[in-house]
């Protein structure tokens, strides 16, 4: 039975199909071209390198979708809907071809056993998945899932498509069509239509076919106007993802001339890849759910950043030329996205780690921050910090000669790496050097290194802030200046490896300073402690007992994948490590990153990120110690313990303190 052999108001079926097809493909093509045109108006960025690696990455993440499985209730359903879609697209194009060119000696897909089977089985699987998806939206929608009419319409359309195939099979079976044999579910449905006269069943079968084709063609037209654009855009988004070719922690702006790295003040000043984020975003809300700023009540919602840029781009980019000129056009920063949103980001990377379409929210936010910095539109406290960093090379406003003062009170003689060669160059960092809250830990770390016989030295006054947070605040020029000064000092020193206290320092030295990765490995002090303990160079005087929980610092964990070394250290000390619910790459940021430790809270905050994390630790019940491996974490969490009144229940300790305890230093 050939559904194409009908006529509609005297027009042969083929003609109708051609008409519908041409219109649908035409509108679809025109719209897609329009959208591509918008992307082309953005700045160029070279993401066309390492094609093979990119293809592999895309295959893995588009076809297997491991990130979607991160949220269990929707993981499998979405996977099934996706693969169902793949099968249906193939079969649709097959059927369309056959329908448009009826003289082709090929059968329809539903007349070919395996194809019919796939269609049949997937129709049920997809319907069940849709049921889960709808139930999720109706009854247990996670926060920040965009419950739009658009989304519901799409679910409904997919449902219609599945049902049309199922029913089509059922009708054909009821009409006695022998072709539909490998359709178990269709077969289940057929008896319901047993009472229909054969020609009616036939006609209904054909009607189902037409319904299916028309809905798909309609969907094709609707797709580039809806959130389902992510179907088209996200595979490219994943393919061109930055994480394939560069480490996450490397925000070097490709092709920037010297240190004049422009920020973006208009959507056209963003790169095509950044603009693609808006089209790729499936409005799922995973980023918002992961974001510590959103949870705390700051105005930032990462999903909205991409969405707002998209809407703004479409609104202004597609507006009729010569309408009302540029006089009333909303400004990207200020009207569309507020400054408060941009400054609220801690650059913790939670959003990017969870995004199912691999959007790059953080570099986007930083590009906009760069513009604010170039305009001087930074708040007072941040200005003061930047001025201190420019002048003194540290954010504390203290003389650079005071950087290594802590050495005096440690009672140790520590080598000057500028004067004699050392094996490990210890790049201490601002907070560990200048903040009185962290000084004790720094001293202990020095003593631990000394006791293990580690050959280490400092740059003393030659060290400057490594610049990680300066770059993330958007001050590229200052970052370049600090980097240059540090590279000069490093060039004078002789060392075989670098060890840092602060994960932020670790990140930028490892990923953003040229040559470090190849020539001298950069390690975090927890890695070094781990190695020393494993090599037996730190024989413990006593075993520590008890339960502790460990907070994975953003720049150590999510950014650089170091989760196990600190845990091994703790276990080697004899401690039992109890994991918080949000562990490893789900760790909840303390709120200090992205320059936020220099900023003030102007709005009323529901609960600061650090307080939220402390409550999580306290909720474990009988774990009295929260272990950290970052000086900023020490500062943030000790304050949060006080403000949440948890002093009696939780102590915050650095790993170095615990190791020192075990060594009885």
């Amino acid at each position: 039975m050939d559904p194409i052999q009908i006529s509609v108001f005297g027009v042969p079926g083929v003609g109708v199909l051609w008409l519908l097809t041409l219109v649908a493909f035409g509108v679809f093509g025109w719209r897609v071209w329009q959208l591509i045109g918008l992307l082309r108006r953005g700045r160029f960025e070279n993401r066309f390198d390492q094609i093979v690696r990119r293809a592999w990455h895309a295959c893995r993440h588009v076809l297997l979708q491991p990130r979607i499985f991160g949220e269990r209730s929707i993981g499998l359903p979405h996977f099934l809907i996706f693969w169902g879609f793949v099968v249906y697209v193939v079969c649709f194009n097959w059927a369309l071809l056959r329908g448009l060119l009826p003289f082709l000696p090929i059968p329809y897909p539903d007349a070919v056993g395996p194809a019919a089977l796939f269609l049949d089985v997937f129709s049920v699987l997809v319907l069940v998945s849709l049921g889960v998806a709808v139930a999720r939206r109706l009854f247990f929608a996670p926060p920040h899932l965009h419950l739009s009419f658009d989304a519901n319409l799409i679910l409904a359309l997919i449902g219609v498509l599945m049902l049309s195939v199922l029913f089509g099979a059922g009708f054909r079976l009821a009409a006695g069509d022998p072709g539909a044999t490998w359709t178990p579910f269709g077969r289940l449905l057929a008896p319901a239509f047993g009472g229909l006269p054969a020609h009616t069943a036939h006609a209904l079968g054909a009607a189902m076919w037409w319904l299916h084709m028309t809905v798909v063609l309609g969907f094709l037209v609707y797709l580039p106007y809806s959130k389902h654009l992510h179907l088209l855009a996200s595979p490219f988004n994943v393919f061109f993802s930055g994480a394939v070719t560069r480490p996450l922690g490397d925000l070097t702006i490709p092709g920037a001339k010297e240190d004049v790295a422009p920020g973006a003040s208009k959507w056209e000043e963003l790169t095509w890849k950044q603009l693609l984020s808006g089209f790729s975003c499936a409005e799922c809300g995973r980023c918002d759910r992961a974001c510590p700023a959103t949870a705390a009540g700051y105005p930032l919602e990462p999903q909205q950043i991409a969405q707002k840029i998209k809407r703004h781009m479409m609104q202004t980019g597609l507006a009729k030329a010569g309408g009302n000129g540029n006089g009333g056009a909303p400004k990207l920063i200020g009207d569309v996205i507020t400054e408060a949103e941009l400054w609220a980001c801690t650059t913790c990377m939670a959003c990017m780690t969870r995004c199912a379409v691999w959007n790059e929210q953080i570099p986007l936010i930083i590009a906009l921050r760069r513009h604010l910095v170039s305009e001087g539109a930074v708040e007072r406290t941040v200005q003061d910090m930047l001025a201190n960093l420019t002048r003194y090379g540290n954010s504390f406003g203290k003389s650079d000669r005071m950087r290594a003062r802590w050495v005096q009170s440690s009672g140790l003689k520590i080598k000057d790496a500028r004067k004699e060669p050392v094996e490990y160059l210890w790049f201490v960092g601002d907070y560990a050097s200048y903040d009185p809250r962290c000084e004790e830990v720094t001293r202990k770390t020095a003593k631990i290194f000394a006791q293990s016989g580690l050959d280490f030295g400092l740059l003393y006054e030659g060290e400057r802030n490594a610049g990680n947070d300066v770059r993330r605040v958007g001050e590229e020029g200052l970052f370049e200046m600090l980097k240059e000064k540090n590279l000069q000092s490093l060039a004078k020193a002789k060392y075989r490896a670098i060890v840092t206290t602060d994960p932020h320092t670790f990140n930028t030295l490892k990923n953003e300073y040229p040559g470090n990765g190849d020539r001298a490995p950069v390690k975090h002090y927890t890695e070094v402690l781990d190695e020393l303990l494993q090599a037996g160079r730190l024989p413990l005087k006593k075993k520590l007992t008890g339960r502790v929980t460990y907070h994975d610092p953003c720049y150590l964990g999510r950014y650089n994948g170091i989760y196990e070394a600190p845990r091994r250290v703790l276990r080697a000390l004899g401690l039992e490590v109890v994991e918080m619910p949000r562990t490893r790459d789900r760790s909840h940021c303390c709120g200090a990153g992205g320059g936020r430790i220099w900023m003030e809270d102007k709005e009323k905050i529901a609960e600061r990120p650090a307080e939220n994390r402390i409550r999580e630790a306290v909720a474990l019940g009988d774990v009295p110690t929260l272990v950290v491996a970052c000086p900023k974490d020490i500062a943030m969490f000790r304050d949060a313990v006080k403000t949440t009144g948890a002093e009696a229940r939780l102590a915050v300790k650095d790993i170095a303190e615990l190791v020192a305890d075990a060594l009885e230093i």
Partner: protein, 258 residues
């Protein structure tokens, strides 16, 4: 408006200050210089006036360590001209400095027009001989008001607010041309990104003023410079914050305050 901002580099008190072995000057070994704070405000005020009333901002400085940084930063912030008078500032003293600036302003390199405002910072931490602004006003024969915290153009004059004590301020109307010692600008000094300053360092230019140094003798000869003896230092309370809080509460109870 024709605006001149006079910049002075002063020792940065973040570093420890020591007296040199001659007992009459500062030990230069670890001495670093930074732009006098009120001068930064003077520059900001000048830029604000230029934005409000139009005109030109010229920054002028004597030769001192790190003064080029300050001049280029001023250009990056929006100043139109930067001029360095090639006479070393160190050892000059305020009176001679004022005379030099006066000579510059009277020279061919600049001019005092009816809409000229000269804006030095109100004072500096090493003004043993007094404030540059006051001497400058006298040398140029122009009216002078110091400790100014707001300047508004009004016809051919300016209306300024001068700070007194107790948070009170006085409003004065000053005829132009004039010298105003700026204590603080109406807005905090703006931020200029490092990249812009570095760009200006490459593309911008600091002019040199051709001035024969008038008598650079100091008005005052310093007999001796020394660090104050710290007499009567506080009794320090030691211990954990908990302990200290308890002790202080105890002290207050003893004194009948609680």
């Amino acid at each position: 408006m024709n605006l001149y901002v006079l910049l002075k580099m002063v020792p940065d008190t973040v570093e420890e200050l020591n007296v040199a072995s001659d007992d009459k000057s500062l030990d230069a070994e670890f001495l670093r210089f930074k732009l006098n704070d009120p001068d930064e405000h003077a520059l900001e005020q000048a830029l604000l006036l230029k934005e409000k009333a139009g005109g030109k901002v010229t920054v002028v400085a004597l030769d001192a360590p790190e003064v080029d940084d300050a001049l280029f930063t001023a250009l990056a912030k929006g100043a139109d001209r930067a001029v360095k008078i090639p006479v070393e500032q160190a050892g000059l003293g305020t009176v001679a400095t004022a005379r030099l600036f006066a000579a510059f302003l009277a020279s061919g390199g600049s001019e005092i027009t009816p809409d000229t405002l000269v804006l030095p910072g109100s004072q500096a931490i090493d003004d043993l001989e007094g404030e540059v602004a006051a001497f400058l006003g006298e040398a140029l024969g122009l009216p002078y008001v110091g400790v100014v915290s707001s300047v508004a153009p009004a016809g051919g004059k300016v209306v300024v607010l001068k700070e007194f004590s107790g948070g009170m301020r006085g409003e004065f109307e000053v005829a132009l041309p004039a010298v105003l010692g700026i204590q603080s600008a109406e807005k905090p000094p703006r931020y200029v990104p490092v990249a812009k300053v570095r760009a200006v360092m490459k593309s911008g230019k600091i002019e040199s003023a051709d001035i024969a140094p008038p008598d650079p003798a100091r008005a005052l000869a310093v007999e001796r410079m020394y660090k104050p003896e710290v007499a009567g230092r506080a009794q320090m309370l030691e211990g954990t914050p908990e302990d200290v809080a308890t002790r202080i509460a105890g002290l207050l109870a003893e004194r009948g305050i609680i």
